[in-house]
Amino acid sequence: MSSAPPALSPHPALAQCPLPLDDYPAVVLAHGGGGRLGKQLVEQLFFPALGNPLLAAFHDGSVLEVGGARIALSTDSYVVKPAFFPGGDIGSLAVHGTVNDLAMCGARPLALSAGFILEEGFPMADLWRVATSMRDAAARAGVQVVTGDTKVVDRGTGDGVYLNTTGVGVVPPGVAIAPARARPGDVVLLSGDIARHGIAIMSVREGLEFETALASDSAPLHDMVAPLLAHLGERVHVLRDPTRGGVASALVEIAGSAQVGVRLQEAAIPVWEEVRGACEILGFDPLYVANEGKLLAIVAREAAEEALALLRAHPLGTEAAIVGEVVAEHPGKVFLKSRIGGTRVVEMLSGEQLPRIC
């Protein structure tokens, strides 16, 4: 080696960090809540550090050109609490979540990786439950877990089990999905009722337990996406599974990416009675509650009816509905026509919704 090692200098990171440190000198929970703070963290800290044109699309995953094929890549970490909940567990969720992120790129999922971070003392029987649940979910989704990793952390420094999955998939020819492709005149479809996953988790969360028969809607969505893409091709402009932050945050992000406006009809958005009841009690707006087995599709107007029929033909999409439209007015903003005819703007929340006082 001929060149000298670089001279040591004070670490410049603090001085250069673009996210004003006096605002948030430390990470708070809301940075992970799927709202405005999370978006700020990505845009102002991660993007300046890691940014490139693919990352700049701010989609659920990225599509890479590899030897003429288009490969979709997506990753997600799972810290759901509790790890076992009505309708699923962290294992099935980690498969569905990443499979769905790939599906939202228009890709056919191929394979997943699984990274386990386990806390010392986590019961082996529970780990077996998680692993077999992953196996079953992967089989149902038609993917395999082809590589993995395990780390164990000291008791008290984790929360039982954390899981990361990364997925790859292939995007078929004639598919062009991107948030920026939403354009005025497009129609917004929703594949079914909203807010079930978030409320099911809430119902078993420590300190908030309430009795409900609700189970998470967690499910793989690529089977429902495939016929949509096969029949409508490039007329499907945007796909998004509205997880953390709910339908509201997903649409606000899309409106921002595409610089279009979105108009929603509150009365058209399906919400199950029991979910609405729980939301009324907790003071939550179902528009901001997480889903794990639902998708938003933004399609060209002339394809809307066909898209609706295709969604409804799938067992996961029987309650699919047209819930709004894309407009040229108020770019970057989402408006909602309320049940009684008034109009209001739909904003991203700062973090997660907190149960109210009275």
Binding site: D23, G283, K333, I340, G341, G342, E347, S350, P355, I357
Partner: protein, 362 residues
């Protein structure tokens, strides 16, 4: 959904809007007391569909908003103590104290937990005998009975490690304070239905008579509010004053008598400082002397903490009906839900948060 959809029906709403339009011949300023009502009005776009002659101003009925800064600072001081499990309703965690908020204390390692019922905090105290569990007991007459029940349960169980940091407030003295203000412009009140479900509405009659003002006990769904507005406008147009009850499906004149008895058993009336408004005599609830052991301020010997508000924040004027949120120069710029300066920007019931979430695009 039953009991909700009936009160969000578009055709009935149109009829009520039309009736309000027909009955309104002059400008009137009404105040809805409760922040929950404010949010319904703004969320459903009701205030913008009313005839322009009707101005709605937003009242002080947001527990998060009126809790004094000093008390938030006390909560922060308690939550930082290693022996304390500090429990609170969710929306108190984001309220800024003079230096920090409870969420930041949690991020820094404080044991701060959200509970949905004060009785869950009592349960935590039973499960953690070696820790001190403090519950942040804020709210109006609506939350007071449940908090009283928690203190009473702890007393019955002989729990030595449960206490409350209490900042209970009462609605009628605040209405008096608003009406007594020389700048007051409120001509009619929509009283808070849930407060009246507990307290009944007899205590409003003297206020209505003294100030010759209509007070209509009103619910929280869109049609409740439209109906309450119509009833108030009719009284104003007819030159009538007094108390009427729109929320008959939940409110009886005498209220919930057992709940009131429990409150009296546990709490006594005291003077109270209101954030943004100031001291109002006999406007709060404190623990009865024989239950003082459950008062966190006594138990932990918290001395005097003084705090000063940001002078530019108009929270006080907004909660007295003298200004609207967007008239504050901090609104949406220096003061946002991420960086709230005033408490009304934080709470799910705060007027500023309602305008920010549902109106900012204008």
């Amino acid at each position: 959904m039953r009991y909700v959809d009936e009160y969000r029906d578009e055709a009935t709403a149109r009829k009520l809007f039309e009736a309000i339009r027909r009955r309104t011949t002059r400008p009137w300023t009404l105040m809805e007391i409760c922040g929950g009502q404010t949010h319904t009005l703004v969320k459903f776009g009701i205030d913008e569909m009313l005839p322009p002659a009707i101005t709605l101003v937003h009242g002080p009925g947001c527990p998060v908003c009126v809790t004094p800064l000093e008390l938030i600072d006390r909560a922060v001081a308690l939550a930082r103590r290693p022996e304390v499990i500090f429990t609170s309703f969710g929306d108190m965690l984001r309220v800024p104290g003079s230096e920090t908020d409870l969420l930041a204390v949690k991020a820094a390692g404080g044991d701060v937990r959200i509970v949905y019922s004060p009785l869950d905090a009592v349960k935590l105290a039973e499960q953690n005998p070696q820790r001190q569990v403090v519950f942040f007991a804020v709210g109006f007459e609506t939350t007071a009975p449940a908090n009283a029940a928690a203190v009473w349960a702890a007393h019955q169980k002989g729990l030595q490690n449960f206490s409350i940091l209490s900042s209970h407030v009462l609605v009628p003295p605040a209405m008096e304070a608003i009406l007594a203000d020389p700048e007051n412009r409120v001509q009619g009140f929509l009283a808070a239905g849930h407060v009246c479900a507990v307290m009944g509405y007899r205590e409003y009659a003297p206020i209505a008579a003294r100030h010759r003002i209509p007070i209509v006990v009103t619910g929280f769904e869109p049609l409740d509010l439209l109906h309450g507005i119509l009833m108030t406008v009719e009284m104003l147009e007819d030159g009538r004053w007094g108390v009427e009850n729109q929320y008959v499906r939940a409110v009886r004149e005498e209220g919930n008598v057992p709940a009131q008895a429990l409150m009296q058993q546990v709490f006594q009336i005291t003077d109270r400082q209101w954030r943004g408004i100031g001291a109002i005599p006999a406007s709060g609830l404190a623990l009865q002397p024989q239950l003082a052991a459950y008062d966190a301020q006594e138990r932990f010997g918290l001395g005097t903490i003084t705090a000063t508000e940001n002078g530019a924040c108009m929270a006080g004027a907004i909660m007295r009906g003298l200004a609207k949120p967007h008239e504050c120069r901090l609104f949406g710029g220096d003061c946002t839900p991420e960086h709230p300066v005033g408490a009304p920007m934080v709470s799910s019931e705060g007027a500023c948060a309602a305008y920010y979430h549902y109106r900012r695009a204008e």
